[in-house]
Every structure is written in C-alpha cells, then in structure tokens.
C-alpha cells in the first residue's frame, strides 16, 4: 500500500512539474504586468506544435528543434504580445487585460492551425534524444521507472527553477519586475526603463509557457489546443494555492496537484462514478474549492499605481456627449434600420441566409446575458455558455419527457439556469479582482467535462430534440415566423436590460464599479445588485439557450454551447462594447453572418473560374491564387484588429467609434456655422470638462 502510494506519487511528479512551470509563468506575468494571461495555454500549444513540426515532420536534431520551439518562438510570442497589445494596457484595469488574454486564447490556436495546417499531429515527441518516449527508460527494471518524457520534464524543470532562483535573488531583474507591476512610472523615476523590464518578463514567462507546452505534449495522443485549456485549469489552481503572488507556494502547489491526480488515477476504481466524474473534474474541483475557502480571494490584491493620476481620465460615455436631438435622431435611425433589416430578411433573403440571420438574432439573446452580467453587473463570467446549455437541456428534457409546451419549457429552462446561477453566485460574487473570472472558468470547464456528458443532464451522446414553438393557432415552425418570434423576444429582453441598467440596480452597480468602499459608505450593499445582475444574466442565458435549441431542433452541446464558443462570444461582446445592448445584437448577427460572407467572397474566384473556363492569362492566375481557406485567415486578421482597437479603447469599439463620430458631426456643425464656439461644441467642452 505504502509502496503504491509512493509509486503513484513518483508518477505524478513529472506532470506536476508541468503544472508548476505553467503556473509559475502565470504568476510571473501576473506579478510583472498585471495580466492573468490565460493565453498561456495557447502559447504552450504553439510551442508544442512548432516542436512537433520541426522535430517529427522535418526530423531536426533535438537541440535546434528545442531551441527554435522554446527559446526562439515562445519568447518571440511574448515580445509580440507585449509590444503590440499589452504595452497599451499597462495602466488598464484587470478586466480589460483578462479579456485581451481570452481573445488571444481563442485566436492563437487558429493562427497556428492556419500556418501549420489543421491535420492531426499524432504522438508528439519528447524533449529528449529519442524517437518515442519509451525508447529510453530509467532506472531500468525498477518500479519507479520513468520514460524519456518524464525524465526530460524533471531535468528541464530543475534547470528552469535554478535559473529563476538566480534571477530573482536579491536586487536583480526580479526585483525590478515586481516593482514595475506596482507602478511603471515610479520605476522610471528611479532611472529604470520600465518598458524593457516588462518586455523581459513577458519573454521569460512566455518561455516557461513554451517549455511547459513542449514537455506536456507527449502525454497527449495527439496535439489539440483544447487539451491545453484543461492543463491551464490545473495551473490556475496552483496559482491560487500561491495566492497569485507566492512563486514558491505556486510551484509546490503545482507538483502537489500532479501527485494528487496520479494517486486518484491509481486508487479510484475505474468503473465508478468517482472515476468518470471526479478524476477529470479534479483540477476544477480543487480550483473551485480553493476559491471558496481561501480568504485571500475575497480581498482585492490589486495595488493601484500611486501615479495613476498621470493618465488621462477615461472618456465619458458616448451617450453623454450627444445633444438630445442627436440622441433622438440616432434612435429613430436605429429603429428604422432594424425594421428595414427585418423586412429585408423576411421578404428578400433566401432560406439559407434567413436561417443565418435568425441564428444571429437567437444568439444575440444569449449575448444579452453577457451585457447584463459583465457590462451592467461588472462580474466577468466565463460560464454564460454553460448557463445557456443548462437552459437548452432543461427545455429539451421537459419537452421530451413531460411533453411540455416549448415556450413554457424555455421559461422553465431560464428559471433552472437562474437557480444554478444563484447557487454559484453566492460564493462567486464575494470574490474580488479576477477571481470571479477564474471561478466561472472552473465551473464552465467542469460543466463541459463532467456534467454535460451525463445522460440526466444532456440526454447522453445523442442530443435531445426540441420542437419549434406552437402557440394556439400560430406555428413558429417556419424560419420566417421563428425570426419574428426571436426578434420580439430580443426586443423585450433588450428593453428589460436597458431598464435594469438605468434603474436603481444599474445606478448602484455604476457606483460599485467606480469604488466599492465609497458605495458601501453611502449605504449601498455591494453584494445584492451584483447578485441580481448575475442571476438575471444566468436566466437570460438559459432562456436564450432554450431558444437556440428550439431553433436548431436539438439541444446540441458540442455544436452550440461549448466553453470555447462561450469564450468567443464573451470576447466579441466585450470588444464591441459590453455595456450596450446594441453590442450584443451586432455581435450576435456578425458571429454568423460575417464568416458566411467571407466564405462566399473567397469561394467566388474558384466558382467563377469553374463556370467560365474561357478565362485565361493574368486574370486566371490572380483568381487561381486566391484560396477559399483564406476567409478564416481574414476573419482572424479582423479579430486581431479588434483586439488591438480594444487594447487602446477598453470601453469597446462601438463606443469608441460612436464617440469619434459624435465629435466629428459636432465639428462639422461648428464648421458649417462658420465661427467660434457654437452651442454644439460648447456643450462638448463642458461635458469633457477641459479648457483647451
């Protein structure tokens, strides 16, 4: 027995080392740049793919392959991230930084697939002088035998730890890195170039992420970016063990998690619910439990920069810049466009495009929940897709098993999602800083990996069917009728969200977001309004989920509600401008329409050539050159621009553009009127408050 415990423990140490490396990288960037870089999973994946390509496909020798993947590519990604994104966010809030990292977590694997192809990458090589991991075993014949991958992990972890220890010993670059997090400006006053220090820390932590990625790769049968998400959760749990600051505790925590996982794998009977449920869920459970019981997670550790006053104040909301006639005009214009769009959709579009647009409108209902929870409530939730799934599953179960009317079942789904949200929110709402995001991430991934596959939740491997609603004589089975129904629901819920935002709860939430202590001091309970927003958000997501299921005819988790999709939605809505309802609507429609449009666009040259074989010469070669696969690339380039704009305008792209166009229009008015400050521009100046 004791021997077995030891044996499993030894097996757990190497994987624990990988958790630990990743976690140390996370803590390092969090401490030195204030970014909790969830994109580390994607960076680890990138290095693993590069190593796979050069080592296995091109059969490079070990040393150059490892140098390229870990020492060149990984830090280079760090440099790119720092120079092009995080540099602009050095003084931004933790929400903005987290969202940027989520965007990267989604985008980087896509870019990697674009570069290296999406073919499967089976049996990743170990970071050792062997072809297969079990070509080298040591100590031979012992019960504690390790394979090449494990030995490599232990060796390189030891090297990395020694390097870090030297670097962080008294007075070196480590001290500067810690100082830069707190106040880059104060560091500059000491004559130290803060941006270089920050760059160095990004390179270092990215190197650790790359190393972790290459080391863990041999454990997977093939390279898949989603597997690296789960790795990330274990690393996050280790970070929480170290309170996001203590590197030594983080490291030990990572190794401990690896050992715990190995012990569970060894001792739990393989056929019980414990094995199927607990084992894959362990990192999430540990993370969730830690967040609930660690007191440090309740108090914000964010140290504000004493010199933050040097930054220009955040821009005022675009709506406050607008004279009332312009607000009226905008509203009339928006309603006109919406009605025209609807008429166009109903009477002009063919069935295919009609269903694309309807998908967008239906998704917009789910995205409204992000506006409510994150935009209005101020809680970063990564589990809105899970709530939508809960709504969809409830709707499906109720209509299938109890023959309930679909609309009633949707409402029941919303209620169940809200109830789950309420239970979750009790602990989550009390967490401070980025912890709510981590807790909802843990919940969402646990839902995906443990709960969603269970038959009493989702109905098992085959998705349950959900019919279209039938209300009295009105049948919503047709796409046109369903589009009308969805638009109606979207309109009602949008108005509800706006009312919450502008009502008492919304005002309280505004106050809490500005300063929680100040809000408490004037008698606002900081918990309750956030709770309301979170629970209502879960409910809206649940209702939207039911609608999605009804539209698609089935509650299909893999197709409509995965954690990954949830990330994409969150990033979309937040970059668009997460405080406003129109951001949800625009993101929802764009999410479905834009890829189709791009697809058509890049398919067109090929189709044109096929139907017009007489085309030749330069025209033909140009058209031939364009590949349909480029549409994905273009989509991600757009995504990248979005991220860049967001880094500079954390209030959201729509908001930033609105502000810009309002200023422009008011400027034109001034010019047209000819001279001096006119009422229009004067209003602008007093709103902005400056005397320029």
């Amino acid at each position: 027995m004791a021997g077995e415990i030891l044996e499993y423990a030894v097996r757990g140490v190497p994987i624990g080392c990988v958790f630990a490396l990743m976690a140390v990288g996370l803590v390092l960037t969090y401490k030195t740049s204030g970014v909790f870089n969830l994109a580390f999973a994607a960076q680890a994946y990138t290095s693993a793919v590069v190593f796979y390509e050069v080592r296995k496909e091109h059969e490079w020798p070990l040393l150059p392959a490892a140098l390229l993947a870990v020492v060149v590519v990984a830090p280079l990604i760090g440099v790119i991230l720092d120079r092009f994104l995080y540099r602009y966010q050095r003084t931004a809030g933790s929400l903005a930084k987290l969202i940027t990292s989520l965007g990267l977590l989604v985008a980087i694997p896509e870019i990697v697939r674009l570069i290296f192809g999406s073919g499967s990458k089976k049996n990743p090589p170990a970071l050792w002088w062997v072809k297969r991991t079990d070509d080298f075993l040591w100590p031979q014949g012992s019960r504690f035998v390790l394979d090449a991958g494990q030995i490599a992990t232990l060796a390189f972890t030891a090297i990395a730890v020694t390097g870090l220890a030297i670097m962080f010993s008294r007075g070196g670059i480590g001290l500067r890195m810690r100082a830069v997090v707190e106040s880059p400006r104060l560091v500059q006053l000491q004559g130290i170039d803060a941006s270089r220090v920050s760059l160095a820390s990004w390179m270092l932590s990215s190197l650790l992420a790359g190393l972790a990625g290459v080391l863990i790769a041999p454990l997977f049968a093939q390279l898949n970016s989603l597997d690296f998400f789960t790795l990330l959760v274990a690393a996050i749990a280790a970070c929480v063990i170290g309170s996001l600051t203590n590197i030594v505790a983080t490291f030990i925590g990572g190794i401990g998690l690896g050992i715990l996982q190995a012990e569970l794998a060894g001792f739990l009977p393989t056929d019980s619910i414990l094995a199927t449920g607990l084992r894959p869920g362990l990192p999430f459970l540990v993370l969730f439990g830690l967040l609930l019981f660690r007191r440090s997670a309740r108090t914000s550790h964010e140290v504000t920069d004493p010199l933050s006053g040097v930054d220009p104040p955040p821009p005022p909301p675009a709506a406050s810049l607008r004279p009332s006639w312009m607000t009226m005009g905008t509203r009339v214009f928006a309603v006109t466009v919406a009605v025209l769009g609807l008429v166009l959709a109903l009477f002009v579009l063919d069935e295919f495009w009609l269903s694309v647009v309807t998908s967008g409108v239906v998704l917009a209902v789910v995205l409204l929940s992000i506006v409510l929870t994150t935009g209005v409530g101020g809680t970063i939730s990564l589990s809105q897709a899970a709530f939508a799934a809960i709504g969809a599953f409830t709707t499906a179960q109720l209509t299938t098993n109890f023959n309930l009317s679909v609309l009633v079942a949707m409402v029941a789904g919303a209620l169940v999602a809200a109830a789950v949200g309420a239970v979750l929110s009790l602990p989550i709402i009390r967490l401070a800083g980025i912890y709510p995001a981590l807790a909802t991430l843990a919940f969402a991934l646990m839902f995906e990996n443990v709960l969603a596959p269970l038959s009493w939740v989702s109905g098992g491997a085959t998705p349950l069917t959900v019919p279209r609603p039938l209300v009295g004589p009105i049948d919503f089975a047709g796409n046109r009728a369903f589009l009308l129904l969805s638009v109606g629901i979207l309109a009602v819920l949008s108005v509800a969200v706006i009312m919450i935002r502008q009502g008492t709860t919304g005002r309280f939430l505004d106050a809490i977001r500005e300063s929680e202590p100040a809000a408490s001091a004037v008698g606002i309970n900081p918990i309750r309004p956030r709770l309301v927003a979170f629970v209502a958000g879960a409910g809206v997501a649940g209702f939207g989920g039911g609608l999605v299921a009804s539209f698609n005819g089935q509650a299909n988790y893999a197709a409509n509600f995965t954690f990954y999709l949830g990330l994409v939605w969150l990033v979309l809505v937040i970059t668009a401008g997460f405080r406003s309802v129109q951001a949800a609507i625009i993101s929802g429609i764009f999410f479905y329409v834009l890829p189709q449009l791009l697809d058509r666009l890049f398919r067109w040259p090929g189709n044109y050539l096929t139907s017009n074989p007489e085309v030749s010469g330069v025209t033909k070669s140009v058209l031939d050159f364009i590949e349909p696969e480029w549409s994905l690339g273009v989509a991600f380039i757009l995504f990248g621009f979005g991220a860049l704009t967001y880094a500079k305008h954390p209030e959201g792209i729509i908001e930033a553009q609105t502000t810009k166009s309002i200023r422009k229009v008011l400027g034109w008015i001034d010019k047209a009127r000819g001279k001096g400050p006119t009422p229009a521009s004067e209003q602008l100046v007093t709103q902005v408050g400056g005397g320029r």
């Binding site: 500067r176 106040s183 400006r185 006053l189 004559g191 140290v303 006053g309 902005v688």
Partner: protein, 271 residues
C-alpha cells in the same frame, strides 16, 4: 531679483540668458512656455521658470493650480503638449521619465509613492543597484539608514505598512542617496505630523547645503518660505507671481486677501 514679476502673460521666455548674465550658468531645470494636459483636461497654460544649482525654488498655489502637474512635467512623467523643458540646457521635452532620472532630476511624488509590496530594503536596493552596482550597494544603504534612522528598524517590513511619515522618509531616502542635481519634493507636509515635517525639512536644508537644487511644491506657504530662495506662485495653470515676494503679497495673490496660510480650503477640484 527682488522684483515682484508681472503676471504670466506679460512674461517673456527670455529670462534664461538674463540669468546667465548673472553668472549663474545654465539652469538645472528650465520651463519655457510649457503647456500640459491630461487627455482633454488642460492643466498648464504657458508656465515658464527655472531652477539653478544649489537654489531652492518653492512652487506655491491653491488646490488645482497645477503644482503637481509642474512637478510631473519636470520629472518627465507627463510630456508637455507644447513648450520646452530643459535639463542642463538640453531639450528634454519628449524624453521618458527614466532619462530625467538619469540626468539627475529626482522626484518624490506626492502621496504614497513607495513600492508598497516591496519591503523597505528592496525599495532602496531597487533605487541604488543601478547606480552603485553590487559593490557600492551596502554603503549606499548605510547612508540611507543614517539619513533616516527610523527606517533601519523596519528593513524587512513591507513599505505599504509603514506610517505616512516613514513612507515619505523612504521616498526621500531613495532619491537622496543618489545625490541628484535637483530634487522635486511634492507636498512634503501633506498629512504629516508637524514634528515629522520639521524633521524632513531639516534634511532638505542639509542636502541644499550640499549643493542639490530644490523644487519644493507646497500648499503650506510658511514651510515653503522657510527654505526657498525664490518662489513661483501658480494660479489656474499660470504663473501669477514669481521672484521674492513677501508673504503678504503671496497670500494676497492667492486669495485676494491676507489670511492664514494653513486655512486653505478647496477652491477647485484637481483634475
């Protein structure tokens, strides 16, 4: 230099050569018609002044006058939107803050300006390591503790948990040991017990005698007048008075009437 100067609009940016004519050489710091803004908020509207070697200049003015903004521009934290900032006669208008620090301009910003999550010794090491290297570090630390003995008892304590006075001392120790050419001391007396303020001002006098120029930003007129050779009175982002006006003239300029300097109320909110 005993004249009470005209308001800022009438001042010409040609004072530097005149000062050269006085035989005092190139000023350590010179502002020439400096405008500065925080985004859309403009805080300085054409400020000009200079500080010479071993001279103490006090910057006086009510809340929101732009004193702290002057200090920030003078240390490179905020780039001027127009105008010229010179350090030792060289144009530093768009240099980063670390260039100012390396050129010998030390800034102790107002309020809490220590690295709260680092301990006292780490705060000091961070400051000294670059200039003195590993070899000279020990003696630099000893000098800092000698300057402020209270700090030596708290070497391993997180700077964020120090008292307000101790944090100010740490700020000063961090910059003083580097022997800057110019020390910008922003609101030293703010929120501190009188006895600590007195102690800190004693240290300022010592370093002034040692040849460091001082730019003292103060709301407390009497403290400022106690140490300064010259004053610049700021009002609403412009120089209202400069030179060596009397206490009454300063108070009259700032308030429109004579009254106790410690009775300052908020005239307008700072940006």
């Amino acid at each position: 230099m005993s004249d009470v100067s005209a308001p800022a609009e009438a001042r010409l940016p040609t004072e530097a050569p005149a000062a050269d004519a006085d035989g005092r050489g190139v000023p350590v710091l010179r502002f020439d018609d400096v405008h500065a803004a925080y985004g859309p908020f403009q805080a300085l509207f054409g400020v000009s002044f200079e500080v010479h070697r071993a001279e103490a200049l006090a910057l006086i003015g009510p809340n929101g006058a732009g004193k702290t903004t002057v200090a920030r521009v003078a240390s490179g934290l905020l780039a001027p939107s127009s105008g010229r900032v010179e350090v030792d006669g060289q144009d530093f208008s768009d240099r980063p803050a670390q260039a100012f620090a390396l050129a010998g301009i030390a800034h102790g910003p107002e309020g809490r300006s220590v690295f709260a999550t680092l301990n006292v010794e780490e705060n000091l090491v961070l400051a000294f390591r670059r200039q003195f290297g590993r070899a000279g570090l020990r003696s630099a630390l000893d000098r800092a503790y000698e300057l402020f003995p209270a700090l030596s008892q708290r070497r391993r304590q997180n700077a964020g948990s120090l008292s307000g006075g101790e944090q100010r001392m740490l700020t000063l120790a961090r910059v003083l040991v580097l022997e800057p050419k110019l020390l910008i001391a922003d609101e030293l007396s703010l929120g501190l017990a009188p006895i600590i303020t007195t102690e800190i001002y004693k240290v300022l006098e010592r370093i002034l005698e040692a040849g460091t120029a001082l730019l003292v930003v103060e709301q407390h007129v009497d403290h400022a007048l106690g140490i300064a050779h010259r004053v610049v009175v700021l009002e609403r982002g412009k120089v209202a008075l400069s030179g060596q006006p009397s206490r009454e003239e300063i108070l009259a300029s700032v308030f429109g009437q004579s009254q106790d300097a410690s009775m300052f109320g908020d005239r307008e909110a700072a940006p």
